[in-house]
Each structure stands twice: as structure tokens, then as C-alpha cells.
Symmetry: C2
Amino acid sequence: MTSSLPASVDPQAIQEVLDGRWAHVRRDARENLRDPDFAPVYGETMQEARERVTRMAKKLADSGRVGLGFPKEYGGEDDSGGSVTSIEMLAFGDLSTMVKAGVQWGLFGGALQLLGTTRQHDRYLRDVMSFDLPGCFAMTETGHGSDVQQLRTTCTYDPATETFDLHTPHQAARKDYIGNAAKDGRMAIVFAQLISRGKNHGVHAWLVPIRTEDGTPCPGVTIGDDGAKAGLNGVDNGRLTFDHVQVPRDMLLDRYGQVAADGTYTSSIENETRRFFTMLGTLVRGRVSVGGAASSATKLALDIAVRYGDVRRQFAAPGDDREIVINDYLVHQRKLLPALAQTYALHFAQGELVSTMHDVQTAVHRDGEEIDEARQRELESRAAGLKVAQTWHATRTIQMCREACGGAGYLQENRLPHLKADTDVFTTFEGDNTVLLQLVAKGLLTGYRDTFGSLDGWGRIGFIADMVRETVLERTAARALIQRLVDAVPGRDDDVPMLDRGWQLKMFEFREKHALEGAIRRLRKNAATEGMAPFDMFNDVQDHVLKTAQTHIDRIVLESFVAGVDRTANPGARQLLDTLCDLYALATIEADKAWYLEHGQLTAGRAKLLTSTVNQLIKELRPHMITLVDAFAIPHEWKAARILDEETDRQEAMAARDADVRVEAEGSQASGGSATDMEVAPAQ
Amino acid sequence: MTSSLPASVDPQAIQEVLDGRWAHVRRDARENLRDPDFAPVYGETMQEARERVTRMAKKLADSGRVGLGFPKEYGGEDDSGGSVTSIEMLAFGDLSTMVKAGVQWGLFGGALQLLGTTRQHDRYLRDVMSFDLPGCFAMTETGHGSDVQQLRTTCTYDPATETFDLHTPHQAARKDYIGNAAKDGRMAIVFAQLISRGKNHGVHAWLVPIRTEDGTPCPGVTIGDDGAKAGLNGVDNGRLTFDHVQVPRDMLLDRYGQVAADGTYTSSIENETRRFFTMLGTLVRGRVSVGGAASSATKLALDIAVRYGDVRRQFAAPGDDREIVINDYLVHQRKLLPALAQTYALHFAQGELVSTMHDVQTAVHRDGEEIDEARQRELESRAAGLKVAQTWHATRTIQMCREACGGAGYLQENRLPHLKADTDVFTTFEGDNTVLLQLVAKGLLTGYRDTFGSLDGWGRIGFIADMVRETVLERTAARALIQRLVDAVPGRDDDVPMLDRGWQLKMFEFREKHALEGAIRRLRKNAATEGMAPFDMFNDVQDHVLKTAQTHIDRIVLESFVAGVDRTANPGARQLLDTLCDLYALATIEADKAWYLEHGQLTAGRAKLLTSTVNQLIKELRPHMITLVDAFAIPHEWKAARILDEETDRQEAMAARDADVRVEAEGSQASGGSATDMEVAPAQ
């Protein structure tokens, strides 16, 4: 197999493809937010970190760049996608600053914008945008993080006083892990069970003052501090407890549910669960932002590890004097390159998600259209799936990069420790990944159920029972192109070259379809089993169900990468991305070889060919590793990794002096160290 | 398949098996080192952490418990195995303290003990033991961590002055990441190229004063600070640079190589490479300690996650009011239980390794026997393999435990952040894991080569060309038992029950043998390929070679677990461990299902049966999760996880109040939250 890749490709050509629909936002950030102030600082105390991040938030507000997602009438740009993109760019810098910004303008400001009404916007939105009104998003409770329908905080209306009584009935109901709470927040959007005239109307949100301007907690409000965390210590996470706090009626964020002066509850959405999930659905931007931010952190980690690996040398080949650059070792390449390929794949998937989110939200919130329920649910499912994929990918990849940089990767000054510690919680907040996978799976099952008939005994399985769904394997991007590629694959798969894109897509599709059908079959069987408890019916199949969700996510990610390659005009860049896409597809199949072998989609011979093809792709891509990270175009000021500054100088100096230093050791030629003879010693 | 496990098993019965040969050391630590002083402290500055750890080191020294491995004549106990066991116990507490102790008494003291001679012991050993003489182990250089034969620091003898000139020729040669260097160390054992009479005799070690009693660096010595690290910030890692420092001749640690006054070099080991590796081999105890410490950290993480999972509730099953304990979810069990099984397996393997190390070292260093080269190489290979296995297992498992504890796992007060950050570097120091795997592989190849004939063109591949090795799949523990089990498996594997221990062992053996033979075949082929560069001959097969090493480690670990079960007298404990061993074996096979399917060792049908058998084992073991962590017998004072104190009280209070709080939401019965209907909301 001869390589068809050019000797070198201009990273700029790739960068243009990556920059995507909001390229102007990325360019603006690179040019105007290069300020080293936005880089992380090492060795701070928690207090210093918090103070610095508060200053940075103010600095961001003053830059006028935080308002992208807010309505034009308040000084924003109605640009939901731009807002997420700016968070992704911010995530190349200090992640505490990025999270602080996300809390203030994404969660607090976003909830105000999307759940509140005009009079509330008029009163508060500008101050939120300017950071003159720091605020919190108080949903999570100590006892309930994932199952938010079961929040225990109550807010009970009293028509006599036209106020709500906001109350934390016990410790497990306290709001917990709330960013902006421990130090800065002056108001909080608090989620609680709305009770009026003896009836619970489900979870709603109120705007509640928590701290006066001089920093004292408001009456009835107790503010606690979560203390030091593993990372993100520039974010002041805290706890909020309410002791019969009186909240005026007009502080209910009442876009979707209203309470009249006499306590009568009204809503345009009758079904309570649907109403709740509609409200939550508007907040999908937070989840989309976390996924994108995770990918930025991943890109930075790879940038550091790839550059380090291109200059770091250890062990000489037999007969050579020059030690080998570690990026030349197959096993090292096998760590970095598939991760780089998956990072590119996720980038394209994220780009489409942001674009879809923007269009959906703009239609509803700017243009006043009716919510398209199907599109909204699909968006939420996609957001959940890509949040899971990008955050787990970040955790794994950043760990791998730390190890790939050895002892240097363990020093704070080289950035990787911060990336590790800060991103760790991304797999938990904005939705625990395992629970989110279940959400994705449910969407697939619901779709199947509605298309192919009910699952007996599973009336509960859809929260929106009357939705009509398209055929299960709904294609995402570049539908026509992908359909053509898949259709072109001959029936007999055994002879199709593994670099055939249609074959790759078919393999992903087959796996998803088969996993889904298998999950359905097993659920039906359990549903029909006498004496089986409802919990066990589902629990018994939980691993299979989550696997199904995973395969679905893999497929939509591949489709996005295919679409991205298709959009690439520059020939050299297109070839490189095409080869990288091959690596993503084949490495993903290789990682799940067991499934394909078990289901007759690979013979033993093809399985071996798969591994050697992956190795061959890695060999072809190796010379382009630096180009692939260059294309991320991360401003040097944000990297804050000392090793990137030192390394080149050091290695050149070392190489120059090697000749002086190396006195031939007695007998070393016959038995000295070599790259195949790698003995190691206990290293301190 | 009905469960044969008793309803409950006494954790004490399991603990006795786990405590092993050095049970008295473990008991002593539990009873006498319960001091909360040895627990980690959260929210310290680096300076506070260093000061605390220095105090703790002194406290340990005063307890008299650090001298176990040192000779009796100096107040020790000649107890190498006891010394490692005490490090394992210390690793349940603050890991910075454990590493500090390991540096002072394991590396610095150990090198002095095993590379030095009596007159040096007489002068320094007691002060090392009392911590009156804090010291460093200065081997690693900025430019050379893994390839220690290529250290650049030189030490050149001048007969006229009878001193050595110790010199750092350039920055990459500076000693780096040296524990005890930045603050406390007054002497360092420095590794450098010994040059005398114009000849380089390879790497040796000298005892070199680096700091006077008042803290000033000695003449010619520059001491740098590595600064803040990801974790282990109580350890003062630093850099040492030597500018023509004069070192008296008698400061050469000269057990294995001597320099006479006139500069004549002598050694009982002629071959330089063998001499070097013999010296390094004595230091195997450090590597064995790191593996064991990693396992202690893993056990603690699992202890926290399992207990948390047994009280934390989220989502209710359809029709139920009580929310489900998260340990009851299959997917949650699938995270925790296989990890627990592997932890037990590694514990038994570590026990045998420590035992072997103790016997080998005692024979040589206490009883003065000749080094048994084959046994020594096998010990080093085993130590390398188990260091890799235990440290990567720790990294993966601690991450999983952090995620399993959600937001609570991200708070420093709940211990997991510290465990993560502190153990991260264990995969790098004492040997980078990838390089160590290569060492293990080389041992297997060397053995093969010597048994079955040379690998043409690979004269370099063995550093000890004339070693005779036993048959490749040398059994480790309980040889006779394992042989019987394997022999009893009928030829036709398809019908053998998966719970047949002999079948499980055969599957592990087959995989190792086949991988090894495949690696050899490919290496031979490359060696015979015209025009292929020597580096590429090996690099091309590197992934296969490392896979081979991995399969070898898996097998020896399983054999150790089998032997451990066999030693268990208490019937209930024996059954439980036997079932846990089944889970370890089958989960390991399941994780590599692809390989087994590809090589015809599993049919598609057997592969499915494998997964359902694993799920069934998990179901049987679920009720015993707490017992399995109780058996680790980790003193509560060392856990320093606030959630373990709070959780029970909180959940009981919450359950009691649920009835009061829960006003029936309108329509909630028909469409409320359920464990199968897991919608999630963006959580802060």
C-alpha cells in the first residue's frame, strides 16, 4: 500500500476547515484574547485563584464578548452558536475562567433569558451581561443531581401575601456544587417544586437574591462553601440553604408556567413532565458547551504531547549514535494518532451540533416559532451523546498525554496536571455520563417503539408517548453523500477494501442497528417474563442498552467527519483529513473487533488485516503529526506549558554536546544499550 | 445457574488470607500507625505540605519502624519483605509521606546498603535510618530517565589527588525529579559514568554531600526546585547540577566495582553491561514497593466508592417510592466488581513477588550467597510486570471510582482527588510503564531464543547471552495444582464450563504462548528481510511484543490468585474468593474477546455465554461488595474521606423526611421519573 499523502500539508488549509461556521468568532478570540491573563496560573491558593478568576470574568465582560448569545435588544447578538464557540475558545485558556463564564452567562444568564420573560430581562439582563450582577444556577441538590424531577426544595405560594415560600426541608435538599455561590453570586436562579393551592406543579425556577451588595447572605439564606476541589479552584462552588425565604410572585421565571395572584396555575403545556423537559431543553446550550470545552482541552493536551514527542529522544537504534525521537516508536504513535483522529472526528460532530442548536434555538427564541418537538428531542439526544463522547475522550486522552510526557508531564508548569484536574469533573456535571448514555438509548428505543410497535409493559419508557419518529438510523450530515457511499458497497463484504468509506460506514451502521434490535428483543423478552420485577427487566439489559447508545454516537460522529472531509477544498488538506478519517473509522472498528467477530462481520483474516491497515495508516500519518496540531491554531500565550519553550533549545544544545561527552564505554559496542535492548533502571 | 455463595462471609476470614506472610507487619501498622497524623491534609500550600511530610518522616523514624529492611547489626531486621509491606501499609495514608519514606529508606538507604560496603555502612547507615541524614537517590537526568546506561553525568578519577571529579556537562545532564533534593537532602547517591585512566567503566554510584547542616549547597553543587507538581507536593523534588565537585575516592559505593589509589579499576563482574544491571538489580525493591503502594491506593478508592454506592440513591423503579441504591445498577456493578476482582488478583501476585524478592535478597545480602542470575532476572522481570499492572490498574480504577462518586468524588475532602493526583506519576517513575513492558517482553524473547535457537541478526537482543532458561511458560505459584487443573481439561474446549478453573488457565496460557510464538515469527521474518533497518525490524512488531508481555503478566497474576484461593481454609471465604477469581479470569478473557475469537478459541456462541456468565457472577457477588472492601481492613483514621462519615446519617435523615416532603405532583404517577425513564437535566 503506497502512501498517497503529499510530503507536507499547509496547516492553515486544515485550520480553515476546522474553524467552521463561526470562524469569525475563533479568529476574534485568537487575535483579541491572546492576553496571557487568560492563561492558567500555577501554585495559587484557592483564594488567589478565586480572586483572579473573578477579575478575569469582569475583564471578559468589559471586552464585550460575553453577550453573543443574548438578544440584540440588550446588546447581545442573538448568536447562540457564537456563544458556544467563544466558550470553546476560552477553554484553551484557564478552565476555571471558562467555567466561571459559563456559569454566569451560559447557565445563570441563559436560564434568565430562556425561562424568564421580557419584564425580567428588562430588569436584570444587562447587569448579568456586565457582571454587575453575578449569579448562580441552583438546580443540583446534595441528594439529587441526576434525577432532577425529584428535587426536594419547595416553593409554596401564599395568595394572601402574593409571595412564594422557598424552603430547604432537610440537608439532602440543599443546593450543592453551585458555581458563583461561595463568594460572588448576588442572585440565584433556584429550581424547586412549585406548590400552589395544595398541588405540586413540578419543578420551576425563581430568581432569588442570595447576597446583598456588601456580601451578607440575605435573610433566611445560608451559604456554605464546597471547599477545595480536585481542580477548577478558581470557581467558587458553594451550597445554598433556604429557610422559608419569601420570594415575590413576579420572581417566578414564568415563560412556561404562570401563577396568578390568586394562586391559579396556568401553562401552555398541559402535561407536567413535558413541560418540565421543555424547560430543561432550553438549557441544552450548557451541555453543548461542556462537550466543546472538553475537546479544546484535549486538543491542547495533544498539542503538548505531540510536540514533546517530536523532540524528546531516548534509546538509540542498534548501530546508531543518535537516540530515537519518541514519536518514531510505533507504540507511541498508536497512543497519539488514533486519539488525534478521534479528536478531529469529534470536532466535526461538535460543529454540526452547535449549528443545529443555533438554528433550533434561533427559530424559537428569536423568531418566535413553535417548538418542533421532534427536532428538540433529537437535539437534546445529540447534545447528550456528544457531551459523553467528548468528555470521556478528554479524560482518557489527557491522561495518555500526561504519561506520554513522562516526568515532565507531572510538573504543573507543563500544563497537563491542570488540564487533568480541571476536566475531570466534566464527565459528571451537566449530566453524569452514564445517565446521559441512558438518555440517548431511551431516545433510540422510543423511536423504535413508535415506529415498530409498542413494547409491552413499557408504557413508561417514553416520556412523550405520542411522538412520531423517523426511521431509526436517521442520518445526520451529508445525507446524500453517505447514502451513496453505503449503497455502493457490494453485498459481499469480505473483499471490500478497508479504506472504502462506504464499507466503514456500513460497519458502523450495522453495529448500531444490530445492537438496537438486540436490546429491543431482550427487553420484550423480559417484559414477557412472569414474575420479573420492572426494575430487573431493564437492569438486566442495561449494559446492552448503553452499548447501543455508544454505537449510535460513534456513527453520527463518523458521518460528521465524512461530511467535514467532503467540505475540504484544498487537495492536500483533503487527502490528509481523508486518511485521518480512515484511521478514526478503522481504529474504532478495531477497538470493538470482538463485537464484529462475534457477529460475523469480520473473519479472522480480515481482523488481522484491520490491525495491519491501522498500523500502515499510522505510518503514513506520522510525518503529519505536527501539522495536525498546528491546525488547532492554539495561541502560544494560552498554552502555558514551559516545556514547549525549553525543549527545542535544550535538545539542540544536548545534541551539540553529545560528541564531547560520550567517552566510549568499555565493551559498549557489543552489549550497550539499544532501542531493542531496553533495560531500565529504577528511576527516581 | 444457582449461586453457591453463603449469604454472608466474615471479612476477617478473608483479611487473614490477604495479610499473608507479613501479617504481623500489617497488624502492627494498623494498631500503631493509626495516628491521624499520617492521613493526608487538604488545602495545604506546597511549603506547608513539605514541612508536614518532613515532620512525618521524622516521626516514622522515631517509631523505629523504618529499619525493617536494614541489617540487624545496625538496628534493622534484615527483613526486605517486611520493609515493602510496611510501605504498602503507609500507602493507605498520605502518599507524599509514603514516597518520602520510600526515597529516604528505600532508595537512598537501600542503595547505600546494597551498593556500599561495610565501612560506608558503619559511617552512615544509622544516621540514614534515624533521618538525621536525609538523602537523595540521584539517578534520573533531564535527558535520560529510561535509558540510564546513557547518563551524561561524569565522575573522573585523578590519582594525583585521589579524588573523583563529578561533573554535569550540560543542562540535559542535570539530575532531575530527585525527591528530598529541593529542601531536605544533605547527601545524594549520585549515578554517573566512571572514568579512570581514560576509560569509561560505565555507570556507578557515589555518596556526595550536597548541603551543609545549615542548608547551604556544598561547593560546586547547584540545587534547583521542580516546583509544584500534579500531586505528591509534600515531596521536595529538585534538580542537582555538579560543577567539578571533588569527591574522595572512598565515597565510591564500591561493592561491585572498585578503583585503586592509582586508578586501576577492578570488578568481580567482567562484563560491563552485566555489572551495571547487577547493580541495578539490587534496587528492585523500589519497583516492588511502587507496585504495592499503587494497589493500596486502589483498595482505598474502591473502599470509598463501594461504600458510597451502597448508600447513594438515585431514581426509583417503576411503581416504587424508594429510590434505587446505585450499587444495584448492573452498569455500576460492572465498573466496581471486575476492578475489585483484579485488585484481589494483583494483591496475591504482589504477595508472591514480595516473598520471592525477600528470599532472593536475603540469600545474597544477609547470607552471602552467590547471585543466582536466572532467579535474579526472573525477579526483575516479575517486578517490572507487576509494577506496570498495578500502577495502570490504579490509574484506571481510581478514575472510575471518582466518577462513580459523582460530584462528591471531586471534592478534596473526599480523598479521591488526592489519590488521583498522587498516584498519577506511579506509571512513570521507577520505570516508564511502556518501557518496562518492553523489558518483560525481552525476557520472554531471550528465554525463547536460548531455548529454541538464535534469532538470526538479533545477537543484541539478549544482554546476557549465555543464560539458560527453563521452558517458556514457567509456572509460578502452586505449580503442581495448576498443572493438574490444566491437564484435566478435555481436548475439546467448546463444552467445558466457563467456571472450570483449568479451562480459564488454559485460555490464559494459550494466549501467551501464541502471542509469543507470533512475535518471534514476525521478528525472524523482519530479520531476514533485505534492506530493513534494524530499528524498523523491531519497531514494526512493537505492539505485538508488548501485547505478549501483557498476556504473560495476566497469566502469572491469575496463577497467584489461584494459589491464594487454594491457601484459604475458611469455607465461606474460600467460596467467595473462588467466585471472585472466576470473575477476574472471565472478565480478563472478555476484555480480550477479540483476540480469542480471532484465534478460534471462542465461538460466537461461547463469546455470548462469556458475557452472560460475567453478568451472572456479578449478580452473585453484589451482596458481598462491602465484605470484600472490609477485608482490606483499612483503618478509618487513614481514609480521610468525609463522605464516609456523613453518608449514613444523611441518607437515613433523608429517607425519614421523604414522606413529609413529597407532595404528589399532578399526573406524576403516569409519567413521573423512573429508573427506566431517566431523563436528565443540566446539572451545575
